[in-house]
Each structure stands twice: as C-alpha cells, then as structure tokens.
C-alpha cells in the first residue's frame, strides 16, 4: 500500500496495520501544546474529569504567549493557571516570559517538536511544524484535556492535496508569498479537511524559516495540516537536539486527491486584502492604500530571517510620519540575535517599536490594537473583520519586505521601490 508522508506518520501513531482517508483513528501523540487562552479550559476539563496525573509530563507543553506579558488582571489569572498546573504536574516545558516565545517559533527552536512526530496543539497554527516533516494539527481545549488523560486523540484521516512549485523566485518573494498565492488560488476552504503537501524545486530551495511561514498558513485554506518532506536542510535544522528525528517520505505512487502545479517564476510579492486571507493581489497592483500601522512579527513571520529582510530595507530610513511600526520577534533567542546583529537598533532608529515576543497584536489582544478606520499592513496570518481591533479597521497581509517598505512610504509599497 502506497502512502503520503502524512498517512505514514498517522499510520505509525495509530498502531494499525493500514489506514485510509476518511477513516476514524485513535492515535498516540508525541507533543500536546496549549497556550494561555486554550490551556485554562483544557486544565479545567482535565480536573473535572477526575483524573489526577497527566499521562506523561514530558510530552506536555504550556506557553503563555497570547496575552503575555499579562495585559490585564483577567489574562494574568489565566497565565497563572498554566504556571500552577506546570508546577503541580512537574511539567518542565512551561515557558514563562523571559524564556518564552510565540509557541510555533519556540517549539522548533527548542527541539521540542521533531520530524515524524504527531503533534496536537490547542492553537490553529500548530500546523506550522509540518515544515519539519511532522504531522501537526490544531485542536480544541477538550481534545487537549483528553490528551492529558491518556496521550491520545481521535482523528479522521485526511486525504492529501499536492502543491508543486516550479521555476525560480524573484527577489523579495518568499514562503509567505507562495502560501498567500496558494490560498488566493484555492480559497479559504480550498483544502478543507485535507493535508496540503508542499513540494517541487522551489520548496527545496526555501530555507526553514520560509517553510515554517508556508505551513503556518495551511489552516487559512482550511487544511488539517501542511507538510514538507524532510531534506538536508531539515536534517541540519534538527541536528544536535536531544530528541531523535524520524524521517518519512511520500511514496512515489501515493494517492493525492488533487495536484496543483504552478510556475512561480514571475510571482511578485502578494498581499491579502481585507477581510479574508484568500483576497490576494500582487503588491504592485495596490495603489495609494495609505496605512496607519505596519506590524512585523508573529508565528508566521517573526523569525530572524524575516527581521533581517525588514531591517535591510529600514536601515538608515525613517518610518513615514503618522505610521506606527511595531516589530515583534517571535522568541527570546530571536530577540537577542536581532540585538546582536544591530537589527533592533535599525528598527528603533527608524522610529519603530521593538517589542518583547507576544502574539498580542496579531489577534487584537494588546500591543497595537487598531482604532476605528485604521489600516494596517501586517506579516501576520489573518485579516478577518476586526481581527486586530476595531471592526471598522482594515488589515492587509504581506511578507516582511512589503511591510517594511510600506512603513517607509506610508502606503502599501512593493519593496523594489525603496
């Protein structure tokens, strides 16, 4: 029987002899993740269940990142629930501010998630880890509570769709543009209940940061997971971590429900216009869209290579008068690296804010809420109505180069014009 990489990982974790798309399975999880929004509910469900001890304290990860550093009393109390539970259960993978980061950048960086893993997270962008060649999928709090009890989850095996990218990418075009283009082509439900497998020569040339950006947004097309087969770059990324990776590859005759093949040679930076990630247009086609805020960071584009791209454009420049530039590196390690490389100084000298890691601005939590009528360009992943604050605000999604260029000119700008 021929399998895709996703099916192989699910088969291995199900303990069954075979599996097929559409089938319900019970699978053992390697990592169960939750944050300060989803963990409190998971913990209360777990406690109500009558079970006392989690199935394996080493497989549970708790990251207060959404409203952390705590934005108000209620969120402080939510964060404290995680800290208390971690202490009570002896969970070492609890990351307090000062050693934390946005979960989906933090876990790969720490070697907590590995190729071949089945990772469940009470956060929809858990699909990010598919870039390592893992099956990683977002679930709810009750799913997590169940995983705390017996280390398992129920899954309906998804069919896979293959996306092949050919050609050569232009300067200023990266993983974010590929995934925005893809969502623009197939729509926000174009991969509903499916696995998106990204492949082709363009993917092989992408660095890990770009691959994480792509897989991160698989959920924006409705997918259960987004995967990239491991290669030398993956192996290099995970080398040196304590946990050992398992590399899976799709069989040549594996079944795909559909295959998309695109030559992306002439692709230019893509921008998703309000209010859906599928409302995608080439950056140069957007004329005279004035912005009030530029947000560079998040689990999608808050990694060191993203900050380098933004800083290269902003170096020696000033943010346009009236524009608020907010840069938030995804983890403490990235933050420190940005300081060492002088990137933080570039952002501050340009008139921007360089923030501690947090999910805050992306979901309209804190650290940069949009007012009525305000327009933002953001390297984040969602531009739903009211996502970053006022229901009367507007969010455009782009790569870090477009966001940096737009901060300089004050309107949405192709980075080649800087």
């Amino acid at each position: 029987m021929a399998y895709t990489i996703a099916e192989k990982i699910l088969l291995k974790h199900s303990g069954q002899k075979s599996i097929k798309p559409g089938e319900f399975i019970e699978a053992k999880v390697d990592v169960a993740l939750a944050n300060d929004i989803t963990a409190p509910l998971a913990i209360s469900e777990f406690k109500k269940s009558g079970f006392r001890k989690v199935f394996n304290k080493n497989k549970i990860v708790l990251v207060p990142d959404h409203f952390a550093p705590a934005k108000d009393l209620k969120s402080a109390n939510q964060c404290k629930i995680l800290a208390d539970f971690a202490r009570e259960q002896g969970i070492k993978n609890y990351f307090e501010i000062g050693c934390m980061g946005i979960e989906h950048a933090l876990l790969p960086e720490k070697g907590i998630v590995m190729p071949g893993d089945l990772i469940v997270g009470a956060d929809s962008h858990t699909c990010t880890y598919g870039a390592l060649g893992a099956y990683a999928t977002g679930m709810g709090s009750t799913d997590l509570a169940r995983a705390y009890i017996d280390g398992k989850c129920w899954l309906k095996v998804p069919a896979s769709i293959k996306f092949v990218y050919k050609g050569k990418l232009n300067k200023w075009v990266g993983g974010k543009d590929l995934i925005l283009y893809t969502i623009g082509q197939i729509g926000v439900d174009g991969a509903l209940y499916k696995v998106m497998e990204f492949c082709g020569p363009v993917i092989r040339k992408l660095g890990m940061d770009d691959r994480f950006s792509m897989c991160n947004m698989a959920i924006e097309a409705g997918a259960r997971a987004g995967l990239i087969e491991p290669d030398e770059k993956t192996k290099q990324y995970v080398a040196g971590f304590k946990r050992k990776p398992k590399f899976y590859y799709s069989d040549a005759d594996a079944h795909y429900e559909k295959t998309y093949e695109w030559d992306v040679t002439n692709l230019e930076p893509q921008v998703a216009c309000p209010h859906l990630p599928s409302n995608v247009k080439p950056a140069s086609s957007l004329k005279d869209i004035k912005i009030d805020q530029s947000v560079i960071g998040s689990c999608t584009n808050g990694r060191i290579s993203d900050l380098r791209i933004a800083a290269a454009l902003l170096k020696g420049k000033k943010v346009a008068r009236g524009v608020k530039l907010i840069v938030f590196p995804a983890t403490q390690k990235i933050y420190l690296q940005a300081v060492k490389e002088g990137l933080a100084e570039v952002f501050v000298r340009a008139g921007g804010v360089f923030s501690t890691p947090t999910c805050g601005p992306c979901l309209g939590g804190h650290m940069g809420i949009l007012a009525d009528g305000e327009v933002a360009i953001a390297t984040t992943n969602r531009n739903f109505l009211g996502r970053m604050g006022s229901p009367k605000s507007f969010v455009y999604l782009s790569n870090p180069a477009v966001a940096a260029a737009s901060a300089i000119t004050g309107k949405i700008t192709h980075p080649a014009r800087i």
């Binding site: 319900f24 929004i37 989803t38 409190p40 509910l41 209360s44 469900e45 109500k48 269940s49 009558g50 959404h66 409203f67 108000d72 209620k74 969120s75 939510q78 997270g121 009470a122 956060d123 929809s124 858990t126 977002g138 679930m139 709810g140 709090s141 009750t142 799913d143 509570a145 169940r146 009890i149 017996d150 129920w154 926000v188 439900d189 509903l192 209940y193 959920i219 409705g222 259960r224 859906l276 979901l363 309209g364 939590g365 969602r382 739903f384 109505l385 009211g386 996502r387 229901p391």
Partner: protein
C-alpha cells in the same frame, strides 16, 4: 434528540473572530462568552436569540482559530444547534467535544431567516415548519455519535477507561 427553534441565518466563512472576538477570551464561562457571540458582525445577536434558536449558515462555518470558546459562546447565548453547508475542521471537532449539536446540509439555501425549524439529530431530518418542507441530511458517523451520546469527549473517555 429533536430540537426546535427560530432560524438565524449567516453567510459563508463565518470565522471564529466573528463568533467570539479575541478580547473576550479572558473568560471560559459559556454564559459570559454568549453575551458577545457574533458581536462583530451582528451586534445585537445575543439579545435576538431565544433559547433553542438555530444558526443556519453557508460553507466553512467556524474557520480560523482553535478557540473552543467559539462553540461555547454559541451554546452560551442559547443557540441549540448549528446547520451549515460545511464546517471548518477544528470547529467541527470542538462542537462534538463540547456537545454542541450540528448538521451538515446542502439545503440551507432553502431555509429563510426567521423560519421555525425542527431537526432530528438521530435521523438527520430537518423539518421546516414555516415552509412545511422536509430535508434529509447525512446522519453522524457512528464513532462521533458515541461521543455525542456520552455528552462529550471527556465522558466518552471516562466510559472507555471504565470498560
């Protein structure tokens, strides 16, 4: 289980930020969340709902975040069930896990805002009382029915582990 209520219609791609905005995620209380359900797109929604009412929507209902607060908010404001052409995958499993009944149906376009409908979860039959019409949808897969019958995932696991 048979549920009866007035229909509140919604379009395609209703996302979890529409259902419950992130600023309210500092609570896990269904009643509290329910007060702000759909606030961004229909500010008076929670006041307009009478206990038992039913949401009828288009494709990809519940897309976006994994927040279980979304089905909790729907339940908390008094809605008894959701019917949509399709559901986003995480919302789908969250609804099952917390015991919010729902049905997938291609016939939602034949239901109007304000209609009184009755749905039978066991058979998948939707009875539009206002229009005197009946539609049949697919019943739940057996595995999922078991979870719903147990009153949610945690009870299901408790029952399994007691066996």
């Amino acid at each position: 289980m048979v549920l009866k209520g007035k229909v509140h219609k919604f379009s395609d791609d209703i996302n979890t930020d529409d259902i419950i905005a992130a600023k309210y995620l500092v609570s896990t209380d269904a009643q509290e969340l329910g007060k702000h359900c759909m606030e961004t797109i229909k500010p008076d929604f929670s006041q307009a709902v009478s206990p038992g009412d039913i949401i009828v929507a288009g494709n990809n209902f519940g897309c976006g975040s994994s927040r279980e607060h979304a089905p909790l908010a729907i339940k908390g404001c008094g809605v008894s069930a959701v019917i949509a052409k399709s559901f986003a995958a995480i919302f789908f499993r969250n609804a099952i896990n917390i015991g919010l009944p729902f049905l997938e149906s291609e016939d939602v376009d034949k239901i109007n805002n304000g209609d009184i409908i009755e749905i039978d979860l066991a058979t998948g039959v939707i009875n539009n009382i206002t229009q005197n019409k009946q539609f049949k949808t697919q019943a739940f897969p057996e595995f999922l029915q078991q979870i719903v019958e147990c009153g949610g995932l945690i009870n299901y696991i408790k029952r399994q582990s007691a066996k």
